[in-house]
Subunit: 192 residues, 2 copies
């Protein structure tokens, strides 16, 4: 959608290696007004889907999930990237490979907060190869929860995550899809 | 404040070792309406302090910071717990010991998003010994930013973090202060 494309053009920075830096508004410094526009866009898309929980993964996803949950009036649950003393009891786990950090990590979610009666909207700030999303989908599958949709702020359309998820029938909404970037900073967005 | 004390009494759980579990509404599953009440309470307290940025640390702090920033109409910046490829350029760093995870970690914040012209409200979900808060204060000191206040959802009043910060002159607001917990689940809150 145009509001996010405009903001990426204005404040995003392209770095060699197909890295798109949006840390001034989306994943280090956070523009809450923009996050609310993203949350509203997901609400417009999935408001009739019977969503009972917004699921995301720490850390950047939390901000988008909170903006989203405000519209849906449902709780957020975020998967944790480390086993914490703050989670006890039975948990779902899955292993995710992070290209950003260059390693595997385990994500954890308490069984108390996701189950077969849930209809879930999964949200995250970025979708590239889709490893983090696969981990969340794995947890939803373990929980027996219904995945009503996936909401992504920025999809890297030149990587396979989005295409594969769509081919598998997931209802995926990406606010902005970057089809290509050049090292001199040009960004080509996919037409909607 | 009563709204958070009531919620802790209703949904919090005391575990041996002075662990207070509030993962059903504050740091795993998130109740956005409650977060907004917390943000509003901080706004009421610091609205005339000239706040330019809300600073927190990933992950649970992000949700409170976003609710807070909505009232102040300023950006959130969150310190990252790992060196990410998503941050480049000059950074502030500090080392924090986590009792929850039982290890030291480095926190990182881009110099672009905090400087000597900033007046900061620091927020976090918990304050116990205060190690994470010390890391954030260290970063504010490196940045030359003014710390106008510290907003905490739940302070463990029987640990030294809050007392020490108040003795050092920080303007600290804790929405709920737990003075003691017993293994049979009783929680005593400090009178305001």
């Amino acid at each position: 959608m145009k509001f996010l494309e405009d903001r990426i053009r204005k404040d995003g920075q392209v770095r060699p290696g197909n890295i798109l830096k949006v840390d001034s508004f989306l994943n280090h410094q956070l523009d809450v007004e923009l996050l609310d526009e993203i949350g509203k866009a997901f609400y417009d898309k999935y408001k009739d889907a019977g969503i009972t929980r917004i699921l995301t993964i720490e850390a950047s996803g939390i901000a988008i999930a909170c903006s989203c949950a405000r519209y849906f009036d449902v709780p957020v649950v975020f998967a944790k990237k480390a086993k914490s003393r703050n989670i006890d009891g039975e948990v779902y786990t899955s292993v995710v490979h992070s290209f950003t950090y260059g390693k595997d990590y385990q994500i954890t979610l308490s069984k108390k907060y996701l189950g077969p009666d849930d209809t879930v909207l999964l949200v995250d700030d970025f979708l590239a190869v889709g490893k983090a999303m696969r981990g969340m989908l794995d947890i939803c599958s373990q929980a027996g929860a219904k995945v009503a949709g996936i909401g992504i702020a920025i999809e890297k359309g030149f990587q396979e995550g989005g295409r594969t998820l769509r081919e598998q029938g997931y209802n995926l909404t990406s606010i902005a899809i970057v089809d290509s970037m050049t090292d001199d900073g040009q960004i080509v967005f996919r037409e909607n």
